[in-house]
């Protein structure tokens, strides 16, 4: 099981803040998972194609080609604007 989370403008665009999914067969890294999510519909396809998005695995920022494992918490979000 993967815990997926989406924040801020991305959360609004997708209409969902978090969800749990089974690790899809054959998916073992972020590009694979992103493609799997993008296959849902045109909204997901374009929203996750935004190259400015940051991705965190288990609450640590990672590179876009990072490996994923069953049980991971994976979050996508736009550049941060706190402070």
């Amino acid at each position: 099981m993967l815990q997926l989370r989406y924040f801020a403008s991305l959360r609004e665009l997708l209409g969902i803040g978090d969800e749990q999914v089974e690790l899809p067969d054959g998916v073992h890294d972020l590009p694979g998972l992103t493609r799997w999510l993008q296959a849902r519909d045109a909204t997901w396809e374009s929203a996750l194609a935004d190259g400015r998005l940051h991705i965190a695995i288990n609450q640590e920022i990672v590179k876009a080609d990072a490996a994923i494992r069953d049980g991971d918490e994976i979050a996508w979000f736009p550049p941060v604007t706190g402070g």
């Binding site: 403008s9 965190a56 609450q59 640590e60 550049p79």
Partner: protein, 141 residues
Amino acid sequence: MIRVQTEDFDAGTELERLRGSNKGQAGAVVSFTGLVRDLNAGDTVMQMTLEHYPGMTEKALASIEQVANERWELSATLIIHRVGPLSPNDNIVFVAAASRHRKQAFRACEYMIDTLKTEAPFWKKETLSDRTRWVEQENSV
């Protein structure tokens, strides 16, 4: 110490608490307070809502504080960040560093607020008179 909270804070009280915890070790306390502006990109801001990533936010702030303490000789540090709905002129963020010498305190304070702005998972959403919009990340440091 780090705190993420919806409640307001009082910068004077926080500075007094830092001074009190110091026991004479520091010769300087430098702090930064960030406020909600009433104008952004030419539009009047009625309200600002801060979203964050609970869990990761605390880790990111603790990491920023830890790096500051490794780089400079600090006797105390504090980062407070508010979340939820805020109004113009409200406090958003408070960062303070106490050190034996002022330059260390200035540099540590600047490092912590600058790094927070680019690394801590907070997002600002503005309510304008006729719409809402997510704030874009600034390019300037």
